[in-house]
Every structure is written in structure tokens, then in C-alpha cells.
Symmetry: C2
Subunit: 259 residues, 2 copies
């Protein structure tokens, strides 16, 4: 299995604190030592840092922890390989273009009988169940919506119904973003928290680090963090239910579907 970390914020915000917690699980406080990656959106563009080596001793992970890249949408993943070997092409997140936007995907779980999924023009490069599911999802979306409609509600609904199908193949916890929206799907492990004024303190579970968000934020900031398991031990994280689908937009949960 793997761990996911996502962020949605209304102002460009760094994720150094949460990322520091997650990275410890990559071989130190957790067994997810088969690579890690993080994608930061800035406008329509993105940059991804990834490494097939364990995050807890990755020089690149150190840079990401120390160098505050500010973003409104982040998708991150640390991997414990099950389907597909340990290699860069199998390291999440995966990014592809659809409708003239970059879509970034990370998956926690394990699927069976995924080989028959029709990915159409979106051909997987690596050999994970996750990339296969992502390519299939994009192909489904493009077939259903050759042009992106102005009203995104039917698009959300369709993403949710595609995720429902993928869940029938196994465990499917997902983060998906185009830089503006962060979409989440839960089979069994996904939690989220929205931080807004009045901000308090929080302490990481995996590392002896405490942060005072009031010193790091302005009163109008709204920042949601999504993770497979809570990253702090003194805040109330929402646990998502089986089959729950969520859409976060600039920090706010704007759409939520519980089966």
C-alpha cells in the first residue's frame, strides 16, 4: 500500500509541514520505501519532484521540505510497491494533459483484473495498476466529454461513477487535480482537515515538529489537507467513508457525494 497527501488552498501555501510528516513514513515511521513524488501546481503549470528511492533519506525530499514552494493545489504520494517494480516510471504522481490542462493523479490501494481496462489513446508507460486506472479514467472522461462543459457538475458526477467502477476492482483511494480542483475518492483510508481562522497549533505524529499556523497565515486563508491517515495528533480530521467522493476548490469542500 501507499500513502497520499493532497492540499487545496485559496492562497498559494507551502506544504512543508505536512510533507515533513509524510516523508517520515517513507522508510522511517512507515514502510513506504519504494519511492515518492510531489506535484505542485502554479497557475496552469506544475512541477513534480520524484525519486524512486526512500523519502526518509532522499536529498530531493530534503530540498522540498526546506524550500517553501507555494501552491494552491498539491498532490503527493509515497509508495510501497505491489503492482509494478520500483522504478521512476512507476513512481506517482502521474500527469497527463486533457482538455488543455494538466491532470495529476495518485492512488493508494491495489486493483485486480485491471489489465483489461481500455485506456484508448492514453497509453500507460509503466506497469502499475494505478497508471492503468488513471489512463482509463482520462479515456472515459474524454469519450464522455470531448469538450469540457462550462458546468462542471456532470463532470464530477461522471468522475465519481468511474471511481465507483474502479473500486469494484479493489482498494481505490485517489487524489486527482488539474491545479484548480482537487478531487478525492475513498475506499477505506482518506482523511481531511480544513484549517481557517482562528488558526491554532498542530503537532506532527511522525516527527517532533509543532507549528503555529497563526504565524504562517493571514486571517482569510483557507487550507485543506487530505491524507490517507491523519498527520497531526491534536486536530480533528474528517474520515471519509467508503465510496465517498469529494471536490475541493481553493480550500473549500464544494461537492461531496456519499454512496
Amino acid at each position: 500500500m501507499c500513502e497520499l497527501l493532497g492540499m487545496s488552498a485559496n492562497v498559494p501555501t507551502d506544504i512543508c509541514f505536512s510533507f515533513t510528516g509524510l516523508m517520515q513514513r517513507g522508510g522511517k515511521t512507515g514502510p513506504h520505501s519504494d519511492g515518492w513524488g510531489i506535484t505542485f501546481y502554479e497557475g496552469r503549470g506544475f512541477r513534480t519532484f520524484k525519486d524512486p528511492n526512500p523519502s526518509c533519506r532522499s536529498r530531493i525530499a530534503e530540498l522540498v521540505q526546506e524550500y517553501p514552494i507555494k501552491s494552491c493545489a498539491v498532490v503527493s504520494h509515497i509508495r510501497q510497491a505491489n503492482r509494478g517494480g520500483v522504478s521512476l516510471e512507476n513512481t506517482h504522481p502521474f500527469t497527463r494533459e486533457l482538455w488543455g490542462r494538466y491532470w495529476t493523479f495518485a492512488h493508494n490501494g491495489q486493483l485486480t483484473d485491471y489489465e483489461a481496462l481500455d485506456t484508448g489513446r492514453f497509453k500507460p508507460v509503466g506497469d502499475t495498476d494505478s497508471e492503468m486506472a488513471f489512463c482509463w479514467l482520462l479515456n472515459q472522461l474524454e469519450a464522455k466529454f470531448p469538450v469540457l462543459p462550462d458546468d462542471l457538475a456532470p463532470v464530477y458526477d461522471y468522475v465519481a461513477s468511474c471511481c465507483d467502477k474502479l473500486r469494484q476492482l479493489g482498494v481505490y483511494n485517489m487524489l486527482l487535480s488539474n491545479g484548480e480542483y482537487v478531487l478525492t475518492y475513498c475506499t477505506n483510508n482518506l482523511h481531511w482537515i480544513t484549517r481557517r481562522a482562528p488558526f491554532g497549533q498542530a503537532s506532527l505524529i511522525d516527527e517532533d515538529v509543532t507549528i503555529d499556523f497563526q504565524k504562517e497565515t493571514t486571517p482569510n486563508d483557507v487550507v485543506t489537507v487530505i491524507a490517507t491517515q491523519p498527520l497531526t495528533n491534536d486536530e480533528n480530521w474528517h474520515k471519509m467513508q467508503q465510496g465517498e467522493f469529494g471536490v475541493f476548490h481553493f480550500g473549500e469542500l464544494i461537492h461531496n457525494r456519499i454512496l
Copy 2:
């Protein structure tokens, strides 16, 4: 204009030396201060470091200079913006999937009347002439070869003829790679050098750094570096001609077409 840097090698090789030279041109010894990027292939996978900030004072560029990522194919670019604003989505290199492989592209030059290029399903995300040209090229390739043939010779020829068309729109110096091959096209500024045993010393033009390649290599290493302008002042770089197209494979020039 911009500067390009590429590498093709028969063993995973780091590019720290050449990259150090190039980065100085990003605001220090050269005017190319509108962002930079570098893509390293490892197997079928790749990782890209990029920054819309000047390379000569980029924390991420520092990491890339100090941390030897070993690769057989590298594409790098520093930008002086002409078409398209300074932003992450306009920062080269650009990477897209075709035929189940990631293709990475960087362009030096400036095109006119590029807006009418038909990019088909490969939709640009940013607003540069370069990304438009890349998307058009991929669309042409997919239309001509829906499945990648075993014999790549006709594919090379077609890439070359597409580049000839792009050159009619302006200055088009190009690097294109799928991690195994590095393809080059020259309108006016592209140089390359192949280093092999017996290895000697070389000194950067842009920074007071000298390297003894014999200490860094084994006798069987073959490493080609491609750059808009030579990076060292004590080696003989080949200058590519107008309309010249080259294919490098694991360090060797295996195909060359001069108009």
C-alpha cells in the same frame, strides 16, 4: 532566444559539469533569465526540475548542479521569453506521452504564424510557439504512424521533414528525446561534441571550472553533449548546419541528414 543543452550517453552519466556552465547563462553570463528546466530519463521514466525564476540564483538549480543524477538522455533549456509570458506552464522542457513513451521537447528560436498549426488531441496548456510546435509535431507523428514501426528510419525521416516545415515559420533549433534517442534539429545554433577514451580535460567558458573526464569515466563510456553554443573553450565542438537533423543513440550519432 534561449539556450538548449542535451546529452546522450551509453552509460548513466551525470551532467553536472555542463549544467553548471549553462546555468550561468541564466542571468549571469547570459540574458536568459525567464526560467529553466531539465529532464532526466531513467529507464522509461523521467523527472523534470524546473523553475520560472532565473537559473543563476535558483535553489533548485543548485541542487541539480550538486546532486549527480545519472541518466542516458537529458534535455535542458534556459529561457529568454519572446512568445508567451514568464510562467511555469511556459517553461521548457515539455513532456507528453506518445506510443506509450514519454517524449520531451525543448526549442530555441522564435516562430511566426504558428497559431494555425493543427495540434489535434495534443492541446497546448501554455501559450508559447514552442509548445504549439511540439504538440503539432506529435499530432503529425501519430497521424502518420498510429503504431510505432519496428524500423525507426521512416520515423526519423518524418520528424526531419516536419522540422523542415517548422523552420519555414522562423528559427527552429530543437531537442527531442524519448529517453533512448535524442533527436536534434538546427536552424542556426546547435553544436555537439562526443567524448570517448582517451578522455582529456575541459574548462567551462562561463564559469571557472575545469574537469578531468578521465577521473569521472570508464574507458568504454561514450557521452555526447549538444548545446546551442559550445560550453567549453578547449575542445572541438561540431557546428550543425542549417537544416541539419541528427539522431543520437546511447552517445553515438547514428543518423544524420544535411539538407
